[in-house]
């Protein structure tokens, strides 16, 4: 359950920069001069946070793009990622 002010159609801040490093991803927040490490699932979730996708459609995308992920974990992973994005100020 999302409780930290994440909207139904979450939108990442447009000024964030996402780059792959090794097998992980790093999102760079220039406004706060901070960088964060994301795993593949979190990186895919962030790319779908464009203000048009509901969590259900993000879940479908994750199932499609990260096929190794346990389907029963997808909803929890999305909730965890969105909560973290919100806590880090990465969402609009």
């Amino acid at each position: 359950m999302i409780t930290t002010g994440v909207t139904q159609r979450p939108a990442a801040r447009p000024d964030l920069v996402l780059r792959r490093v090794g097998s992980e991803w790093v999102v760079y927040d220039s406004a706060r001069a901070k960088a964060h490490v994301l795993n593949l699932t979190a990186a895919v979730i962030l790319t779908y946070c464009d203000g048009t996708n509901e969590r259900s459609s993000i879940a479908e995308a994750i199932a499609r793009e990260v096929p190794d992920l346990d389907p029963t974990r997808i909803k929890d992973d999305i909730d965890d990622a969105l909560r973290r994005f919100a806590d880090e100020g990465l969402l609009q």
């Binding site: 920069v17 490093v21 090794g22 760079y28 220039s30 001069a33």
Partner: protein, 285 residues
């Protein structure tokens, strides 16, 4: 007054002194860097205090330091000449608090907090025949996302020389480019190896030195490349802080591009020779 100008591109550092002993000390700091005839961008002085008691160090935009002992004045000047290079505006790049060594044909960027052992590990790797970019200061160019060398002398704890017979001999024989000052040995890489400079390159690996476990068992283990990249990024952001947000963003994004295929290792322990050997094995593997 004798003046020595050296190029730490794009900066030109000028060191002036009216004292032969201080002049020799100044020459040891960036001994391996190329001399320059260009207009200096950063000027430093290490002069006898009026009355002849002690020395006074001068640096850009700071009040004079001293009178103080030669060692203290030198230590102040060395600190300023490092921080100023790190913070000075530098079109097309940034300087980073890090070491770098070319192991085989692969560049390992060595990062860690102050006191983590960057200089000691770089010195061990040099002694084992590898070329370096630096032990505490390397240059990063945004145009091609490559790191390149800075001809600054290695700063080594005298105790660490006991495990480095080649470098210890270099120091004890008073080779040009070596200096014992303010409790540390400053050793020009050119005093260790004639061909000391590694070619500019993107890193193959980032080695995170763990200061908290410096005296524990020596280990080199794979770690998160993302975490390593964030560590390096934060160092660069600190270094580029004076250039404004646009420059920070440009440098950081180019840095992340340069680290796209990097491996990451976490190294710790009290035996830097063992850590150096372990890194060689990783390269060979």
């Amino acid at each position: 007054m004798p003046v020595r100008r050296i190029a730490v591109a794009p900066q030109v550092l000028e060191f002036a002194s009216d004292d032969p002993v201080a002049e020799g000390a100044l020459a040891a700091l960036y001994h391996a860097a190329p001399l320059s005839t260009a207009v200096p961008t950063l000027r430093y002085g290490l002069r006898r205090a009026s009355g002849g008691t002690g020395y006074v160090a001068t640096s850009p935009d700071r009040p004079p330091f001293g009178p103080a002992s030669l060692g203290d004045a030198w230590a102040y000047l060395e600190w300023r000449a490092t921080e100023d290079v790190l913070n000075a505006p530098a079109d097309g790049g940034v300087f980073l608090h890090a070491g770098g060594v070319e192991i085989g044909s692969r560049l390992a960027l060595i990062v860690g907090d102050s006191g983590a052992g960057k200089s000691t590990l770089v010195a061990h790797l040099m002694q084992r025949g590898h070329r370096m970019l630096g032990d505490d200061l390397v240059r990063f160019a945004t145009a091609d996302a490559r790191f390149s060398a800075v001809g600054r002398s290695l700063k080594l704890d005298p105790n660490s020389l006991s495990s480095m017979p080649l470098i210890a001999r270099t120091c004890s024989s008073a080779t040009v480019g070596t200096l014992l000052a303010a409790g540390c040995w400053y050793v020009s890489p050119a005093a260790i190896r004639r061909e000391w400079e590694a070619a500019p390159a993107r890193p193959w690996a980032v080695v995170l030195l763990d200061a908290a476990r410096r005296n524990g068992p020596s280990t080199v283990e794979r770690t998160s490349a993302g975490e390593a990249a964030v560590f390096v990024t934060q160092k660069v952001l600190g270094a580029a802080a004076g250039g404004g947000q646009t420059r920070q963003e440009d440098v950081t994004v180019r840095l992340l591009d340069g680290l796209a295929n990097v491996a990451a290792y976490r190294a710790s322990g009290g035996d830097p020779a063992a850590v150096a050997a372990a890194l060689e094995r990783e390269v060979a593997a």
